[in-house]
Symmetry: C2
Subunit: 344 residues, 2 copies
């Protein structure tokens, strides 16, 4: 009889958990979307594999910079969660950038690019680092001249943009980069598998963290496909964070819009792969995810989390680490005698 009762009890518990999971899954699916396995359609930039391959070469090619030493992958290193493990990236001539480099992974699903959202598309975004004096320090004209001096690139642009007469131009550089970057997805995280209906994809601790993440109100901003990345909010909506975390000389989106309403407003960070992309925030000085969670709870929700709350939420955030794309080292096309050389 005792054994029988134990069995009944075990069955009841299992069924209660299952019912509970189903309700949580429904709630979560109303807030989030699983990350797709395939890139979305890019407006004005139809997909073809030659373009993706070209974009991959450009992404890894330091000749996009005037010094010939800095590539997209310098700061958006696929080995380092699609970013770098620095507070601020180091660019042209050893200069330090102004804000922490965001990850390139899944960035195609963000509403806009850069912390202040000043680029609407990855295509627009690509111009930023190329032309920035502290990053690649190049010009569209010089870059196109360099690429035109590399015969294999001339050929690859023709293949990638077969309908065009003069395919090697700056616009197509950014289109190819956008195409490649749109393929850098990290699907099938435990959270995605949970959303799609897979039982036991997430641990009990992670599920409790998800409940906290919803219940505490984190989902006000961090929602959708990228668990963030799709809206703008003020950093410090409730309580201003410490000055070292929110430096007073970085006014975020206000610098773009000119509207005081946007002071300290930033694009909400995507939390996908957040466990892989320390340090955190635009200021990049917080290296501990626990600390980052506490800062967000306080500044955005005026909530003081217990150690247990933090542990659960951090466990949930760990479930947002997806399968990294396998990207092998490309072989960059050779220059010729006629190719413009790096500027010393």
């Amino acid at each position: 009889v005792r054994l029988f009762l134990v069995s009944i009890l075990a069955m009841m518990t299992a069924s209660a958990v299952a019912a509970d999971d189903t309700a949580l899954r429904e709630e979560a699916n109303a807030i989030f979307n699983p990350l797709p396995h395939a890139p979305p359609t890019l407006a004005g930039n139809p997909f073809n594999t030659d373009k993706v391959e070209l974009g991959k070469l450009l992404f890894f090619d330091p000749r996009l910079s005037s010094s010939g030493a800095i590539s997209c992958s310098t700061c958006h290193d696929l080995a380092e969660g699609g970013a770098d493990k620095l507070s601020k990236s180091i660019g042209h001539g050893g200069q330090e950038g102004r804000r922490n480099a965001p990850t390139v992974f899944n960035s195609v699903f963000n509403i806009a690019l850069f912390w202040d959202g000043r680029a609407r598309t990855l295509r627009q975004q690509a111009r930023g680092p190329i032309e920035s004096a502290v990053e690649m320090n190049n010009t569209p004209e010089a870059l196109v001249a360099t690429l035109k001096g590399i015969p294999a690139y001339v050929e690859k642009f023709s293949k990638a943009f077969p309908e065009q007469e003069e395919p090697l131009n700056y616009d197509n550089v950014t289109k190819a980069l956008e195409s490649f970057q749109s393929t850098l997805l990290t699907p099938d995280s435990p959270f995605d598998r949970f959303l799609r209906g897979e039982d036991k994809a997430m641990s009990e601790l992670q599920l409790r963290g998800l409940r906290q993440f919803i219940g505490q109100g984190c989902v006000t901003c961090h929602r959708g496909t990228n668990v963030g990345g799709n809206a703008f909010f003020t950093f410090g909506m409730m309580i201003a964070p410490e000055v070292r975390v929110r430096p007073v000389n970085d006014h975020g989106r206000m610098e773009v819009s000119g509207r005081s309403l946007h002071d300290y407003t930033f694009r909400v960070a995507s939390l996908r792969n957040v466990a892989r992309t320390a340090p955190y925030f635009h200021s990049g000085i917080i290296w501990d995810l626990r600390e980052a969670v506490r800062i967000m709870a306080k500044s955005q929700l005026n909530a003081t989390l217990t150690d247990n709350d933090v542990e659960e939420i951090v466990a949930f955030l760990g479930s947002l680490s997806g399968t990294l794309p396998q990207v092998d080292q490309p072989t960059l096309p050779e220059a010729t005698k006629a190719t413009p050389k790096p500027v010393e």
Copy 2:
């Protein structure tokens, strides 16, 4: 009858070429060795796959540098022929190095490392860039402290060096790097396939180039497995090269040995993949392989080559481009709150 004669003539020519190829192959095999498919045994550093995998992570990890921004692959980019496409590499704080970065590919078969040969093994060599103020600007102590602060590295060192009690130490960092680099081979070039007996592996032009390469005397220095890399010779044995190509303030091996005999003496460059590793020479200002061949012929052999000679030799050098190893982007271990942070 005419058809018959043509056939006979064609057969005779074919057989003459075949006989000729066989003789050339024998001669070449007495001078060169085909590149092996597997790494050689490393003295004092037995092979195991965990060690190679660890070495790969270290090779790609910018946390080997004090700034956290420069990895081995920054200057020895597998996408760029195992080097970079710069006259001189750019290191810590944007500083320019002194000599052109040599390729990491097949470097395990060189007699010594660095242009002046000051390191006998890749293991010794690894200390150079890590500790150089213009490269990674790190110290053994700081590097070991950083790695000890990354739990996954602690585990990986234990697996790679299972017999040791304190495996995470500087010596083992260099051993793991040596292990990984010893696997970066580019076998099966047309030249290797020719040496191994494959007919038509090299074009007629390339074979004429090989004859020139032997006949002109290039093989005095460029021989063995790496078609160079296994001896020291003075740059300018016959005629001093232009000062821009051989700067007067770089005395090569004399700076290491203190012997005036070694003034302007350098380790002979390996010519494997030379078509992929412009710019050339320790000074890194010559971008055109044709020009590099002319400079070598003049300075080392006092030979003035015709355009045709140069074309043939450059074609032969093209036959030294082997199959690049497929290396996918690794995923670097995560730091923790306790991991020492990059020095600003």
